[in-house]
């Protein structure tokens, strides 16, 4: 059975509907890439999964638990780790404190994060607010890893990172998947890099799942149709 399963999920911001029927699955140890143009509902889908936005219709099941009635922190405790869009580091906390705030027992601890992002270790005592954009992005990823999740959700996690770092992150993600058996749900704009790591792709259009399939079946004209390039 899939680790995460969404079935015909609908969601609203106030009175305006943002999701009109999203369905997707992420298997144990699998990496699913979520695609779609700006404003199509990728982040909203992720917000529904992490319970930041309660969905209205459909079902979200994680590891056999119906997330329908669970609060956000319960979903996280079940093993969903999030690197949110826009980083959302805690600005008044230092790098170190940002990491400890999230810590839960497991292989990912401060030392492991420091190995992945030596830059963060250098800036340990600095308040997150004054970090550079890329440093904040690293911190957001490190913080999600500190929760030792089973499913890691990355919403535009490589935004603003220098090309070398970005490559390192993709390597790390691939390693996470193969070594730690993480399941991964990823949103990113670089199709090229996604193709190298994602097992399957799922496309959203206007808040609806319109296409799901493996990387090699995502042909040029599908890309043209759904992503406009």
């Amino acid at each position: 059975m899939a680790l995460l399963e969404l079935e015909a999920v609908t969601a609203f911001y106030g009175a305006s509907q943002a999701l009109f029927g999203v369905g997707l699955t992420v298997g144990e140890g699998e990496c699913l890439a979520l695609l779609g143009r700006n404003g199509m509902g990728k982040t909203t889908t992720i917000r529904a999964i992490t319970r930041m936005l309660p969905h209205r219709g459909g079902r979200i099941v994680f590891d056999g638990h119906d997330l329908g009635r669970l609060p956000s922190h319960r979903a996280a405790q079940l093993g969903i780790g999030l690197v949110p869009e826009g980083r959302r580091c805690f600005p008044n906390l230092t790098v170190e404190e940002n990491l400890t705030a999230a810590a839960r027992p497991g292989p990912w601890d401060r030392a492991a994060v420091a190995r992945l992002f030596p830059r963060l270790e250098e800036r340990r005592r600095q308040r997150a607010a004054s970090l550079s954009g890329g440093e904040q992005q690293m911190l957001a990823i490190g913080r999600a890893l500190m929760t030792n999740p089973r499913l890691l959700i990355l919403d535009e996690a490589t935004e603003g990172l220098a090309p070398v770092v970005r490559q390192e992150i993709w390597v790390a993600i691939r390693k996470l998947k193969s070594d730690s058996g993480f399941a991964i749900l990823v949103v990113d704009k670089s199709l090229k890099e996604l193709r190298a790591v994602a097992d399957r792709f799922s496309v959203l259009e206007k808040g609806e799942s319109v296409w799901t399939g493996a990387g090699d079946s995502l042909t040029g004209d599908l890309v043209e149709r759904y992503l406009g390039v």
Binding site: T43, E85, R119, E156, G160, A162
Partner: protein, 249 residues
């Protein structure tokens, strides 16, 4: 060669022991896109913030055309024609897209801010605002609140506000970030045409866009410029490849 539109000479800024900008000298010439690249935390945004006056440099000078501007406030520099976009979208969240851009038009117009005459429905504000919104690809979203926009849409609004200032020089901090593939493509085309209007200092990590757009590229590492050159020169620079580009170049 013609007088540079913007020139920065010997600019330095330290945060405690950290040298965020270290004796940086660079120019922005008429009609060019000058890309500024470098590793995370190299000091690119800090450099832009010094040019706009959000933070004061420790030493060095900044000239807009002939005039030395480092003594001016941020808003005075903006009125003289420095437009910037923020790396992290910085909008008026309760305003609609249209109102955000109108605010920029009103600021740029240089006219005194009337207390009584209505701004809403004032064609002198709305007409240009709508035009810039359309150019940035947000047509049809004029009445959405900025807070309700998706991430990519916010990034586009940043661009629209910079356009609305009709500046002498653009300082764009990672404008491509958050844009999807389609948005990146549109923005690339937009920026390419924009340089004729005003030169652009472009901070960007999206190398496809940088290589497609830049007339010159400068590379900043640990606050210091290590190289300036054409796309080919920078691509071929072994040091830049190691420190920044990785296999991408």
């Amino acid at each position: 060669m013609a007088e540079p539109v913007l020139s920065v000479r010997g600019l330095s800024k330290s945060f405690g022991a950290l040298k965020a900008t270290d004796d940086v000298t660079l120019t922005l010439k008429r009609g060019e896109i000058h890309a500024l690249i470098g590793p995370n935390g190299a000091g690119k945004s800090t450099l832009i913030r010094q040019i706009t006056g959000e933070i004061r440099q420790d030493s060095g000078e900044i000239r807009l055309g002939e005039a030395e501007i480092s003594a001016l406030s941020t808003q005075a520099r903006a009125r003289r024609g420095l437009a910037r976009s923020f790396q992290v979208s910085s909008l008026a969240p309760e305003f609609t897209v249209l109102e955000n851009v109108m605010l920029a038009v009103a600021g740029a117009s240089g006219r005194r801010l009337g207390l009584i005459r209505p701004a809403t429905g004032d064609g002198a504000l709305t007409t240009p605002a709508r035009r810039h919104i359309a150019r940035a690809g947000l047509e049809g979203r004029e009445n959405a609140r900025a807070a309700d926009l998706s991430h990519g849409e916010r990034r586009s609004l940043e661009i629209a506000m910079a356009l609305a200032l009709e500046p002498v020089a653009f300082l764009l901090d990672e404008p491509m970030a958050g844009m999807g593939p389609e948005g990146s493509e549109r923005l690339t085309a937009l920026l390419s045409g924009l340089r004729a209007q005003a030169p652009i200092l472009l901070v960007e990590h999206d190398m496809d866009a940088v290589f497609a757009l830049a007339d010159r590229i400068s590379v900043l590492v640990y606050g210091a410029l290590i190289a300036t050159g054409t796309v080919e020169e920078i691509r071929a620079d072994a040091e830049v490849r190691r420190a920044y580009l990785g296999e991408e170049g």
